[in-house]
C-alpha cells in the first residue's frame, strides 16, 4: 500500500481548502485500494466549527447507497482506511471510532486537539462497545506542515477575531518529529477558523 500516494491526494484537498481560505486540512477515505471519498475543511463556509474534512467525507459515504449498502450496519467504515494531512482532532477521532474505521494515516501531529495520541488517544482508550484502531503519523509530514504555515502566515480575515500576523515570515526548516518545538506547535495548532 502506497501511503504517500494517498496522503498526496489528501494534500490536494488541503490545497483546495487553502484556495477557499479555509484551514487547509484535507483527507481521502480508501477502500479496496480506491478512493471512495475525499473532502476538506468547510467550517467557515458552513458557519459550523465541526465541519472538518473527515466529517464532510463521512457524510458523503453514509449518504451513498453504493458505498453504504446496509444503512443500519453498526460499523459502516469497517474495511476503510483514512488518509488525512493532520492528525484527526478529538472529535473526529471519536467519530471514526464510532463508525469502526479500520486504520488512520496522517501527516503531522496536532498538539492542540489531536485525538490519536497528541492530546488524547481516542483511538485506543477504553470504550465499552467500539474496538480500537491503529493510527500512524509522519506520512508527507513536511508538506502537511508547510501548507498550514502558508495559511497561518496570511491574515485570516474569515476567522472570528483574526490576529495580526503582519510580522510573520514563512519558515521552511522543519524540526524532526517527536521533538516538536514551541514554534512548530504554533503552526499546527488548530483545525478550525
Amino acid at each position: 500500500m502506497d501511503h504517500n500516494l494517498w496522503i498526496g491526494k489528501a494534500l490536494e484537498m488541503a490545497e483546495e481548502a487553502f484556495e477557499a481560505r479555509e484551514v487547509p486540512v484535507g483527507c481521502v477515505f480508501v477502500r479496496d485500494n480506491r478512493i471512495i471519498a475525499s473532502a476538506r475543511n468547510r467550517t467557515i463556509e458552513l458557519k459550523n466549527a465541526t465541519r472538518h474534512a473527515e466529517l464532510e467525507a463521512i457524510d458523503a459515504i453514509l449518504a451513498d447507497r453504493q458505498l453504504t449498502p446496509d444503512p443500519s450496519a453498526q460499523y459502516p467504515l469497517a474495511n476503510t482506511t483514512l488518509y488525512v494531512t493532520v492528525e484527526p482532532c478529538i472529535m473526529c477521532a471519536s467519530a471514526l471510532r464510532q463508525l469502526g474505521i479500520s486504520e488512520v494515516y496522517y501527516g503531522c501531529d496536532n498538539d492542540r486537539f489531536g485525538g490519536c495520541g497528541s492530546v488524547l488517544g481516542v483511538n485506543s482508550i477504553a470504550h465499552p462497545a467500539h474496538p480500537p484502531y491503529n493510527a500512524a503519523s509522519g506520512h508527507e509530514r513536511d508538506a502537511a506542515i508547510m501548507v498550514l504555515r502558508r495559511f497561518y502566515l496570511t491574515e485570516n480575515s474569515n476567522a472570528p477575531a483574526p490576529r495580526s500576523k503582519a510580522n510573520r515570515v514563512l519558515r521552511t526548516e522543519i524540526p524532526p518529529a517527536k521533538k516538536v518545538s514551541k514554534d512548530d506547535r504554533d503552526e499546527t495548532r488548530t483545525r478550525e477558523p
Binding site: 463521512i58 444503512p71 482532532c89 478529538i90 488524547l120 482508550i125 465499552p128 462497545a129 495548532r189
Partner: protein
C-alpha cells in the same frame, strides 16, 4: 508501592543528599510523598531520604556517599484525602495531605437566585419534553436545548431544540449535540452579519453527558456552559467518567459544566425513567 530510599549517616548529610536528588531529577518523582522521614528512637534520630519508585534505576551516588546502600521500602501510593488516612499513611512514610475540594460549581449553584433557578428548571422542562417526543417517535431519548438567555435582546441568539436522530437517519453520528450545532449554523448562514464562533457565550442543556465527539464539538463551537442531567460514565467526554475534554492540557477553550444533583434526580424519577439509556451508548 515500593520506593528506593537511603539512610543519611548524619544530619549534616541531609542537604548534600537532597541537592543530589534535585540535580539528578529524582526529586520530581513521587510528589505525593515528603522527601525525608525522621524516626526518633530513645537514643538517636534515624533520617531516611526518598529517592524514586523501585522500578526506576538510581543514578550513581555522589563520590563521598558511594558507600551508602539504597534499599527499597513500601510507601503510600497516593496522597491522603482525609485526616484519618493521613495518620495511617504518615505512619508508613510522611505523605502529602490533598483533600478533595468541594466542586466549585456546586457551591456556586447554591448562590443562584430565584430567577436563575426558575430559568434553569424551565429549560430542563423543555429539554426533557424534547427527549420524550424523541422516544415516542422511535428515536433514542437524547435531547439538546439551546435557550435564549433571560432578557437577551440579541436577535441573532437563536433558540433551538434538537434530539438524536441516528435511528431514523441510519447515521450513527446524528447525535443531539451535532444536530444542534448544524441547525444553528444553517440558521446563521442566512444572516451574513454573524462572524462569531457559533455558540460563543451560549448556555446549552443536555439530557445526557455528551460523548467524546460531541464534547469536543462543543469546544470547537465555543459554548460557555453546559447543563447535564445524566452522566454517561463509560462513554461520556465531560467528566462523568474517565474522560473530561475541558480538563485536558492544550485545549484552547473550556466551558463550565453544571451537573444535575442526585437529590433533585429523585423528584424527576419518572422523567429520568423515560431518559434511560444503555451505558455503552455514545450520547
Amino acid at each position: 508501592m515500593d520506593a528506593w530510599v537511603i539512610d543519611a549517616p548524619e544530619i549534616k548529610d541531609i542537604n548534600p543528599l537532597l541537592d543530589w536528588t534535585r540535580k539528578t531529577g529524582l526529586d520530581r518523582e513521587l510528589r505525593h510523598l515528603k522527601r525525608i522521614r525522621r524516626l526518633q528512637t530513645s537514643s538517636e534520630t534515624q533520617i531516611t531520604i526518598l529517592l524514586c519508585a523501585s522500578n526506576t534505576p538510581i543514578p550513581p551516588l555522589p563520590p563521598n556517599y558511594s558507600e551508602l546502600a539504597p534499599y527499597t521500602l513500601a510507601v503510600p501510593a497516593r496522597a491522603a484525602l482525609n485526616m484519618p488516612h493521613l495518620a495511617l499513611k504518615n505512619a508508613v512514610w510522611p505523605t502529602v495531605y490533598a483533600p478533595l475540594r468541594p466542586d466549585p460549581d456546586e457551591v456556586r449553584a447554591l448562590e443562584w437566585d430565584e430567577a436563575r433557578r426558575t430559568w434553569v428548571l424551565e429549560c430542563v422542562r423543555e429539554l426533557v419534553d424534547g427527549a420524550r417526543r424523541a422516544r415516542v417517535s422511535g428515536e433514542l431519548p437524547i435531547a439538546a436545548f439551546l435557550p435564549q438567555m433571560p432578557g437577551d435582546t440579541n436577535a441573532d441568539a437563536v433558540k433551538a431544540l434538537t434530539h438524536d436522530t441516528r435511528t431514523s437517519e441510519s447515521h450513527p453520528l446524528r447525535h443531539a449535540v451535532i444536530n444542534l450545532v448544524r441547525l444553528v449554523g444553517s440558521l446563521q448562514s442566512q444572516s451574513t452579519a454573524s462572524a462569531e464562533y457559533f455558540l460563543t457565550g451560549r448556555s446549552l442543556f443536555l439530557t445526557h453527558e455528551p460523548c467524546i465527539m460531541c464534547s469536543m464539538a462543543l469546544v470547537h463551537s465555543r459554548v460557555k456552559e453546559v447543563y447535564i442531567l445524566i452522566p454517561m460514565r463509560r462513554t461520556g467526554g465531560a467528566g462523568g467518567g474517565e474522560v473530561n475534554i475541558v480538563a485536558l492540557p492544550n485545549v484552547n477553550h473550556r466551558y463550565r459544566i453544571w451537573r444535575w444533583h442526585p437529590r433533585e434526580r429523585v423528584e424527576r424519577e419518572l422523567e429520568l425513567g423515560i431518559l434511560a439509556l444503555p451505558d455503552n451508548v455514545d450520547s
